[in-house]
Symmetry: C3
Subunit: 267 residues, 3 copies
């Protein structure tokens, strides 16, 4: 069920430890968003401690926003350690398609690490699925059909795939849902996609990776954004208001969720 109030409650009571290897642009907002929804974030990227840190975490978030050769190696070590310890791994392929380095790095991670959730914007998921997507720097230039792209990529990788944008799509095992909450201010603040990845990381850390868990996380984030928009005067005041809204999220608001199950295939 999306959204599922029991999932929201489990994340809050579980305080899942979310190990992040992420970019230095939005990392502070990721940490705060993770705390606000109930998680305990730890950011660490030294190769020397990857095995230890990933294995004690509840989830591992890999975000390639400012990847370099050193942190790519750390992602591989942490990812394999997480796999051995049955810790779910989320990959946010920020800017994949914008440069060959990003595209090849994502391929390398997907080859060597079993990823439980891939979460990107429409353009990134379009690029990764091979169904057509446009990425400009780290911004989405859109995808031909983000719902189909999610389902195609999910089927290829055998994991949950989320494609976020004006509408969000979450797909796994032939099931695809469309989520229609959110607010245009999310597009005017740097790193809201990264923050959402950290929130999803906390959710899968507490409740395991599934369409319901990922869809509930996205819905909570987007409903918080709607709430925050009412209390802000622009993108600057929207960000602290978004944290407040995430931190004091009322499960009663879940009745405003806009969720639609799609039937993309005969299956």
């Amino acid at each position: 069920m999306i959204p599922d109030p029991a999932i929201v409650a489990t994340v809050r009571s579980g305080k899942p430890l979310v190990h992040h290897i992420t970019n230095y642009v939005t990392v502070n907002d990721c940490a705060n968003a993770c705390i606000c929804c109930g998680g305990s974030p730890v950011m660490a990227d030294a190769a020397e401690e990857m095995e230890a840190m990933a294995s004690i975490a509840s989830a591992l978030v890999l975000n390639i926003g400012t990847l370099n050769a050193r942190t790519l190696e750390s992602m591989e070590i942490a990812g394999r350690s997480a796999n051995r310890a049955d810790v779910p791994v989320l990959l946010d392929p920020v800017g994949v398609g914008a440069t060959g380095f990003r595209t090849e790095s994502v391929k390398r991670i997907l080859d060597r690490v079993e990823v439980a959730v891939v979460k990107g914007n429409h353009g990134e998921i379009g690029v990764l699925s091979g169904t057509g997507g446009d990425v400009r720097g780290v911004d989405s230039g859109g995808a031909e059909d983000p719902a189909a792209a999610s389902e195609t990529l999910s089927s290829e990788l055998g994991c949950v795939v989320a494609a976020t944008g004006e509408k969000d799509y979450v797909s796994s095992g032939g099931r695809t849902v469309e989520l229609s909450n959110g607010h245009p201010l999310l597009e005017r603040v740097s790193g809201t996609g990264c923050m959402l990845s950290s929130v999803v990381g906390a959710y899968i850390g507490a409740c395991g990776p599934s369409v319901d868990t990922v869809g509930t996380a996205i819905t909570v984030f987007n409903l918080s954004a709607e709430c925050a928009a009412e209390r802000s005067a622009g993108p600057g005041t929207f960000k602290p208001a978004l944290m407040d809204a995430l931190g004091s999220f009322e499960p009663g608001r879940l009745c405003s969720a806009r969720v639609r199950e799609l039937r993309l295939r005969a299956s």
Copy 2:
């Protein structure tokens, strides 16, 4: 003309992609300031993707705030790639003069990359121009004559030079303007100089490097700061208010600009 409303409009409609190699202290604020004024920021510093990323950008911003040997090399690769693709390069020589490493790194960049705009505080431009300037950590200790320093450095490098402080000076081709907007709270928040560099980056990405473009960018930023100061209770609430003000900047406010053309030389 400074300020030029047509420049403001062109930046907003153009959504210039601004590739940053910048410090990890103020990078999030830089990204948000860039978005708020109309740009699309991408932060990337891996040597492997510098050529690709810089060549597709509208402008390249090099900020040495937390430079190290690895990112210095990335700046050179990106700078030369930008030069080949006719992408204007802005250099913010943060803390130049404070350590030999910073001074030598700036020289190396200026030797190997054609820079379109150098933007620093009074102390940094004073140091670089050789006319006398004081830098304490990354704070300006002032310059003897920042207007003359800007003109001297501009003449030496053959590019636009901006020296910011209580009054700002922009110089190129023997023309120097003095800009007198802004607010003391700008000095009480970390990274407002870096944010301004990112705003100028978006402006030159959309409209090309010139005294008018750079002067208009500085004026928009400073008028936004004046507006934000009215809605804030201190340095903490000033920063989100500054983003709001940049994001909703009304061209009508440009009539509050305080701009003076200086006559420093016979030329």
Copy 3:
């Protein structure tokens, strides 16, 4: 005396330059907290400039939040340079005990650098003192007796030790004080411990390392948090309000300080 209004005034008038080698998660908030309390922060971690930067600083803050092999070496170079120049060094052993890499790195720093202040959360100080402490990622899982842990570690290292949590303990030379100000929102924002380290850095830079200086810094920070909590609607708006409160701290508020001298030993 804790709190000492003269210490507060000296920090504000002295504008101590605080060199940080710190993590990229909370660095921006550290810089702003340092400015708000009267300091001038500079963040720099390139080995090439460590000797120069540390020697001109008023204090050096080493925070291992996102340590790696490169920045560990920079910390050693900067630490030894600071020692030679009689610049006090503060160590924040973020997450010590969570991984072997963190524990060994802290030992290496303590072996090679004379540290004037160690400031950690209850769990970290418990781990370091060997009296028992729990660290989960970078969050404190608590210590058996944080007051005793502070005194034990202080005695072993011959420096000031601060253990922060719901109550804070500062110990040196057999004297231990308990500080009871603060607000629960401090635990719901990422990096408030790091921010406090930067504030303490400014204080010891201006007034030297002592129980009085460190205790006054902590008290000012915690009283500012109490003030900020009244003006915020959650963790998001609390952070800018905390900066505002630090920046406009009224010495008259010091009368709300809750300080208790403990008698832990016969000495």
